[in-house]
Amino acid sequence: MTRPILSVENLTVRFGATTAVDNVSFAVAPGESFGLVGESGSGKSTILRTIMGLVGDWSGTVQVDGLEAAKTPRRQFAQHVQMVFQDPYASLHPRHQIGRAIAEPMRIHGLPNAEARTMELLDLIGLGSKFAYRYPHELSGGQRQRVAIARALALSPKLLLLDEPTSALDVSIQAEILNLLNRLRQELGLSFAIVSHNLAVVSYMCDRLMVMQHAKVVETLTREQLRNRDLNEAYTRDFLAASAL
């Protein structure tokens, strides 16, 4: 098998007395889109945050494109993997104009043409370049999340970690963003790890998915298995039943 773009082995994450992630393993192939679904509080976001180096106390092995998370400087890692957070408010500085927010990772990494690329990214995410001069508080929740996505794309990483990328977006914008993500995945050969509680979104976006409950993996399914209702665990069936209501 080709080397996975992301491999997580025996990952355990603790916050004091809480075990947020309990011995979780999975791998994502290059070009693949992998979904994480499951109970609220089951550790999905924590897995993504650990991959990004945002969590202190963890054990196991995390590799992105062959680079070990524990041994690679954050700055180097950032060119391989970027994350879009669940919370579109937390990721934007309230007093920085949108254009600056998007250009920031490019400036930090000394990329040329940051300005032009910022405008291009603003067009790409459907806001248009006039938004470059707005402040986060002037944007609605959905607009802010689009900015966060543009920012994550700025360094052209190979792997995008997306935490509920469209749960703050209305359905028309969700469709545009999902189409955009799919197009980018194809054109740029990106891989995705997507956390979502929307099984329809996961079935549409992901080749495989992992179901989690209470810090543990319940089961891993291919899209075909999901669509054929070829499920092994009761929790997955409940989840599907609640989704289909």
Binding site: A17, G41, D87, Y89, G141, Q143, V171, S172, R183, S203
Partner: protein, 282 residues
């Protein structure tokens, strides 16, 4: 027929822009609310949150608001002094904000915040009793291990847990009117059902009026009695819940066509083609 709990007529909200002109964000919204579940859907920026905030009286200072009628129960909100409105917010009216980060105090344990919310409503309730109520409400919200969560700070909660804590804070006060702004967007489907049933119970048992703001059309049409569809600051259509498929307005129909489904095709999703005449000038 009894008088509705809320009446809004011709609500308009505008913001001054850089070039001195006004950005009209809400353009003549009118509706009434009884002791019912009223859904409000529409794309982001269509004016849903602002309409809710206007009712609650928490618009930014620089917003220009006008209305022919803005009434809650027998209170004319246009004339009510600031103090009255503040008191309403702490008691009979509640709003679950779209973003937990704005409504939870970052440096206070979440359990204590719920205890406060309970005791603001009634000082005679002891801290111990309020603590027990808090643990109970967290449990009904299907929070695992309420004792542990009680002692956490907001940043230590998952997205869905933060939303449930916010909902708990509002629900314990049992307000007469609750405006829930995208309250369940971060919840997984099974937990979402449970939280909705709690809101539902308040509407039936407490005769609460609920304005449920969401961009999730299907959720809203399953859960609410009526649904207002907003577009560009106006209500373009009112639907009887459960009759989403009978939606007439091309905007509503367009929204429905954009949704992926579990068993649907993998081709690009339909994109909403916005038409200039959807936003009729009033």
């Amino acid at each position: 027929m009894t008088r509705p709990l809320v009446e809004i007529q011709n609500l308009r909200i505008a913001f001054p822009t850089e070039d001195g002109s006004l950005h009209e964000a809400v353009r003549g919204v009118s509706f009434t609310l009884g002791r019912e579940k009223l859904g409000m859907v529409g794309e982001s920026g269509s004016g849903k949150s602002l309409s809710g905030r206007a009712l609650l009286g928490v618009l930014p200072d620089y917003a220009r608001m006008q209305a022919d009628v803005l009434r809650f129960d027998d209170i004319d909100l246009l004339e009510a002094p600031r103090g009255t409105r503040r008191k309403l917010r702490g008691g009979r009216m509640g709003m679950i904000l779209q973003d937990p980060k704005f409504s939870l105090n970052p440096v206070m344990r979440v359990g204590e915040q719920i205890v406060e919310a309970i005791r603001i409503g009634d000082r005679r309730i002891s801290r111990d009793a309020a603590r027990r109520t808090t643990l109970d409400i967290l449990a009904t919200m299907h929070i695992r291990d309420p004792e542990q969560v009680f002692d956490r700070y907001p940043h230590e909660l998952s997205g869905g847990m933060g939303q449930r804590v916010m909902i708990a804070m509002m629900v314990v006060r049992e307000p007469d009117l609750l405006i829930a702004d995208e309250p369940t967007s971060a919840l997984d489907v099974t937990v979402q059902l449970q939280v909705l049933s709690i809101l539902d119970e308040l509407v039936t048992r407490r005769q609460m009026g609920l304005i449920f703001i969401s961009h999730d059309l299907q959720l809203v049409s399953r859960f609410c009695d009526r649904v207002l569809v907003m577009y560009a600051g106006q209500i373009v259509e009112t639907l009887v819940a459960g009759r989403l498929n009978e939606a007439r307005h091309p905007y509503t129909r367009g929204l429905l066509a954009c949704l992926p489904t579990i068993d649907g095709p993998l081709e690009p999703l339909a994109i909403l083609q916005r038409q200039a005449d959807w936003a009729t000038q009033l």
